[in-house]
């Protein structure tokens, strides 16, 4: 059986928290354990924040879809912004960040570490991230 929940959020402050509340309900319904739900929440916060901060989307919206596929939760985060080339993003290193004036650049790494899989599809018309977590 496959069920879906979709939602669209405006690019406002702390809207990413509203998304995590829905994610938690969906994941609880699928009987994912507490730690996995927390991991999904943090990864989702990062994906939403990136869309909010970097996409420069004119419609100023982030589209999120939760797909419940058996014991697998698939989450799709989409923006219609400027896009980016993920292969050009350097892996952050704490030894460098601690001395550097810019401490940022962790979101993608956090997403990839906390989810079972993260696929980024990005081009000039926007960015689509598909991430999954199994029960």
């Amino acid at each position: 059986m496959e069920d879906e929940v979709t939602l669209t959020i405006p690019m406002h402050h702390d809207m990413e928290l509203e998304v995590t509340r829905i994610a938690a309900s969906v994941a609880e319904a699928m009987r994912l354990d507490k730690d996995k739900i927390d991991e999904i929440k943090l990864a989702l916060i990062e994906a939403c924040l990136n869309a909010i901060e970097h996409s420069k989307s004119e419609e100023k919206k982030v589209h999120i879809k939760f797909k419940m596929i058996g014991d697998r939760l698939e989450i799709i985060i989409k923006d219609y912004g400027v896009g980016f080339d993920p292969s050009k993003i350097k892996e952050p290193k704490i030894e460098e960040k601690i001395k550097s004036p810019s401490k940022r650049g962790w979101g993608l790494k956090i997403m990839r570490s906390l989810m079972d899989s993260v696929v980024i599809n990005s081009h000039k018309g926007g960015t689509k991230i598909v991430m999954t977590k199994r029960r």
Binding site: D14, L17, T20, L42, E46, I98, W106, S113
Partner: protein, 116 residues
């Protein structure tokens, strides 16, 4: 959404200070923690325990502010440790390598014991 806005309390002891937070460690939340730490540094404090047991969510901007605080603590040859982290926040800090510079304890008591 407002209920998530970070509040904190700071307690200065002889050898260390404890900062206990409640709520979302995002950009403004991280700034509040940094301000509290820098004020304590001005009063001569070098060793910090950050108790996050009432902060269940964090984001990368908040974490980057924590890295700034860690940098300042290292310059002072002090120390910073965390306690009360959710498993996921602890995992995230480990993945990032923050544990090279800070320690993670389950409880405040354990953190205090390690500093005394």
């Amino acid at each position: 959404m407002l209920e998530q806005e970070l509040t904190l309390s700071a307690r200065k002891e002889d050898k260390y200070s404890v900062i206990t937070t409640e709520g979302y460690i995002n950009n403004p939340g991280g700034e509040k923690i940094a301000l509290a730490c820098y004020q304590l540094m001005d009063q001569g404090c070098k060793h910090f325990i950050l108790n996050f047991s009432q902060s269940k969510v964090i984001n990368s901007i908040g974490i980057s502010i924590l890295i700034e605080i860690i940098e300042k603590v290292l310059e002072l040859k002090g120390s910073l440790c965390f306690c009360g982290l959710t498993n996921t926040i602890a995992k995230t800090f480990r993945i990032m390598g923050l544990t090279q510079y800070t320690q993670i304890f389950s409880t405040e008591e354990e953190a205090i014991k390690a500093l005394s």
